[in-house]
Amino acid sequence: MTDPGGGAPSPDAYPVALRRRVGALGWWRSRTVRRCAFGYALLAPAVLYVALLVGVPFLFSLYLAVSNATVGDPVAEFVGLANFRAALESTTFYVALRNTVVFTVGAGVLKALLGTGLAFLLAQPFVGRRLVRGLVVIPFTLPIAISVLGWKWMFDSQFSVINWALSRLGLTGPYGSPDWPVWLGEPYLALLSVMFVNVWRGFPFSAIVLLAGLTSVPPEVIDSARVDGAGFFQRFRRIIVPMIAPILFIGTAFDTVFTLSDLSIVYLLTNGGPDGATEILPTLAYNTGIRAGALGRGAAISLFLFPLLAPAMVLLLRTLRRRQW
């Protein structure tokens, strides 16, 4: 085994006590310095990889956003804020921005509500709980693109199984009638459908994160609150929520980031249609930057996501820094 201390003789050669004495000779030999050098050497591959392929591209996207780079033409000129201005002047952008916010907030609230409900249900002991848990998390564990394809078929304009059920129940008219919902073909319905799929995929995650929090609260605390006369909602709001707040923050941050940046649901279900009704910033950035090849424009659009992401990331950062190591 070679020693990482750079040319130092193999430690195998010395008994421990002797090694210590030798180590006291020079600063390089001091254990702390060697340990640190060794540590940073071990960290280097991961840090470099991430710096080169996340850090550098991120800075590069800032540069692209102020250039007129295109896919075909590698030579780019500085164009200042023209890309941002162009984005702000197009109506599509505003629609996409509005949809992104509605989508993220609306779906987020629904996921939180459903997730909370499910978490409390799963916190009760009952027969077959493991099985139920395994089944309800399926939406989250299926690769997203794959489950979205299933939904696309379920939302089919003519052979939708949902419509079959609804019309049999008498809630909607038969095929061809005006109250036959064309899920992905009508503006509001399409936005709703897209949100629904996001909620379907995300609520198990909220539930499981919350459940992990709930099980970390010692039951004695809850019991003593109950003895003191705290009702269910009071216990939830005053005791459980503050105690598991860090977990909630992290869960929320993750979910927000994933929701904001996910393009596959909209791309595969509607590709922004009908008529831009479900266009969100990610799809707009993809269609502008890659499809149409205007890298600079696309980069500028995707950077508009950053202010939306920032709160989630700050929240996460603060939570992480406050914990003890």
Binding site: C36, G39, P204, P246, L263, Y286, M313, R321
Partner: protein, 263 residues
């Protein structure tokens, strides 16, 4: 229980669709939840004979394999260093690495498109091998860091007393007892790679280089013609195993994320 129905129904419906005969899919006059013509394997056949599905599976596996290897090589030493060596700035570095997991693909994919073309990897699955570790390394470093913290110091000390260097102690003693952690890291490299859609969509447009999710989503829809049966068959054939494995390791995933808050 409505939760279970909502969660499972789409999968059930996909499975039924995958083995239904074509005419049976388009009958709205009968209860669609079951078969009115005998089930068939024709959709799977079509997948393997008329599309590059076999290539997609091979690509997916190869990508996942390489990504796992790269991830382990980078994340194991990093996780160990952060957990054990009491480095100055370890905390900030650790948080920094973890935060990069949250820099979303949607901000990075455009500059990365340039990187991919600089490397000459457009339209090749190798581009994904290069890109996927950008999210698997941060996550697995974090995961392994938590794991290494649970390995008792004493066994390491004992190894060093017995004449191993710090590195020797890591390789000979710490890694063997950390096999469950390493397996978890590999599993997540696999499953997180499978969850991606954006990168493969942006970087690969040649049929025989696609991974399964992209291939199924783009090649089985021709204009307005949907091959629903084969689409569902191809999606489930890969989706179900991934979901099962992910399911088994879900607690580790959540612990990896939330452990950050409670540990």
């Amino acid at each position: 229980m409505p939760f279970v129905v909502i969660a499972v129904f789409p999968v059930f419906w996909m499975a039924v669709t995958a083995v239904k005969q074509e005419p049976d899919l388009y009958r709205m006059d009968v209860v669609p939840f079951w078969f009115h013509l005998p089930p068939t394997w024709k959709n799977f056949d079509l997948l393997f004979t008329r599309t590059s599905y076999r290539d997609w599976i091979v690509n997916t596996l190869e990508v996942a394999l390489w990504v796992s290897a790269i991830t382990l090589l980078a994340a194991v030493p990093a996780g160990y260093a952060l957990a054990r060596l009491r480095l100055p700035f370890a905390e900030n570095l650790g948080i920094g690495i973890f935060m990069t997991y949250l820099v979303p693909a949607i901000i990075l994919f455009i500059p990365l498109a340039r990187v991919v073309s600089l490397l000459g990897l457009q339209d090749r699955w190798w581009s994904l091998v290069v890109i996927y570790p950008t999210f698997t390394i941060p996550f697995c470093t974090w995961l392994l860091m938590g794991f290494f913290k649970t390995v008792p110091f004493e066994i390491e000390e004992a190894a060093m007393v017995d004449g191993c260097g710090q590195f020797g102690a890591l390789v000979r003693v710490v890694l063997p007892v950390s096999v469950p952690g390493l397996v978890t890291a590999v599993i997540f490299s696999f499953t997180l790679s499978m969850q991606d859609f954006l990168y493969s969509l942006a970087f690969i447009s040649v049929s025989d280089q696609k991974p399964v999710p992209l291939g199924v989503a783009t090649e089985l829809i021709r204009g307005d013609v949907f091959f629903w049966g084969s689409l569902m068959a191809g999606a489930l054939l890969v989706g179900v195993p991934v979901a099962i494995v992910y399911n088994l390791f879900l607690d580790r995933f959540i612990a990896g994320i939330t452990g950050a808050a409670v540990r």
